[in-house]
């Protein structure tokens, strides 16, 4: 049973769609910032903040803001999970 689960888990990890990984790499500013600073992801100090893109989290809110300001829209979408594990782009 455990062996089957491990095999299944391994297979699911191996078959993770490349584009899902792309989404992770594209949409994970902390990871990118860490790399940009020569650190590994997750090695940011507590409270350390860097300039990032400020995202509206809903289409309704973003569209209303675009109508209000007349600014163009930069739109991205991704699922915040990988094979149902949350907390990751």
């Amino acid at each position: 049973m455990g062996s089957r689960m491990n095999t299944h888990t391994t297979r699911r990890i191996v078959i993770c769609p490349a584009w899902l990984l792309c989404g992770v790499l594209l949409l994970s500013p902390s990871r990118q910032d860490a790399q940009a600073q020569g650190t590994q992801p997750g090695q940011l100090r507590a409270g350390q903040q860097t300039a990032k893109i400020a995202w509206h989290g809903t289409w309704k809110g973003g569209l209303a803001e675009a109508a209000r300001t007349g600014k163009p829209i930069l739109l991205l979408s991704a699922a915040p999970q990988c094979h149902s594990v949350p907390g990751v782009w």
Partner: protein
């Protein structure tokens, strides 16, 4: 050296002239339909969507696709995080050109800029965990009080010190905090450390709702500084999540997969 698009300083600088919208795919049926109008080969919504649009939200200004690569060139697949400088600069320059074409309107006096809210606390916890950022919940059961809180908070959120450093959500019911440890039903700005997998959280600060702007800014900075981002790498995170049984159930079916057949959760090898 990181060469990906969205962490490039020129792209970030250009983004300040845009309304930036990042949606969580498969979490809202209406937004799914919007995304399908943007990019959906075979009519099937993909996991990731990228577009640059006119202010009307309909006119595409660059080629839409799954990522900026589709519009600006560069590497697809595993090398996508090491994009050629030329592609990144292409994106930044194109965005600047678009911003010149759509310079925006002068804001009305005393107009408060809306907060960049996520749709609900559940999703906001997940997104904050994924971004490794703290979450700020603007909580009050009283909509008038919540609006006053938003007006006080807005100039701070969009200021150079704070922009893009946290996630935000509005809350009007204490039950929305049921997965958050340390919450004591206090109305105000609730600063939350998301759990590693964004399924839980803990309160790292509460600022009273009627706090004046100057004090709110300093107290918010102090509270945000108590946030400790996850130290797990991407692979460690995924493996730890599997071992911990951390699972996310999307609100709508995940349709990304081989052959574009709805309901499948990913590409599978022939057995």
């Amino acid at each position: 050296m990181d060469r990906s698009f969205l962490s490039d300083k020129d792209v970030i600088a250009a983004s300040r002239k845009f309304v930036c919208v990042r949606l969580a795919t498969y979490e809202n049926a209406e937004e799914n339909q919007v995304l399908k109008r943007m990019f959906a080969p075979g009519g099937v919504l993909q996991n990731t969507v990228f577009a640059i649009l006119a202010p009307n939200g309909r006119t595409h200004l660059v080629r839409s696709g799954r990522s900026p690569v589709w519009a600006f060139g560069g590497n697809r697949g595993p090398g996508i995080h090491t994009q050629p400088v030329s592609a990144i600069k292409n994106m930044a320059q194109t965005m600047q050109a678009i911003a010149r074409k759509y310079p925006g309107k002068a804001p009305a006096a005393q107009e408060s800029v809306p907060l960049p809210y996520l749709s609900d606390v559940r999703l906001a916890l997940n997104v904050a965990a994924a971004d490794r950022q703290p979450l700020v919940a603007v909580y009050s059961p009283d909509s008038d009080q919540r609006r006053r809180m938003e007006q006080t908070l807005s100039p701070i959120v969009w200021s150079g010190q704070f922009i893009g450093t946290a996630q935000y959500v509005a809350a009007q019911n204490k039950t929305e905090f049921k997965s958050i440890k340390g919450y004591t039903n206090q109305t105000g700005f609730v600063i939350i450390q998301p759990g590693t997998f964004g399924l839980t959280g803990k309160v790292i600060g509460v600022i009273p709702a009627d706090t004046p702007a100057a004090q709110l800014q300093s107290q918010l900075a102090s509270a945000l500084a108590r946030h400790t981002p996850s130290r797990l790498s991407y692979n460690q995170h995924r493996q730890a999540g599997v071992q911990a049984g951390a699972r996310w159930q999307s609100k709508t079916p995940v349709t990304d997969g081989a052959g574009g057949r709805p309901g499948r959760r990913g590409r599978r090898r022939p057995r």
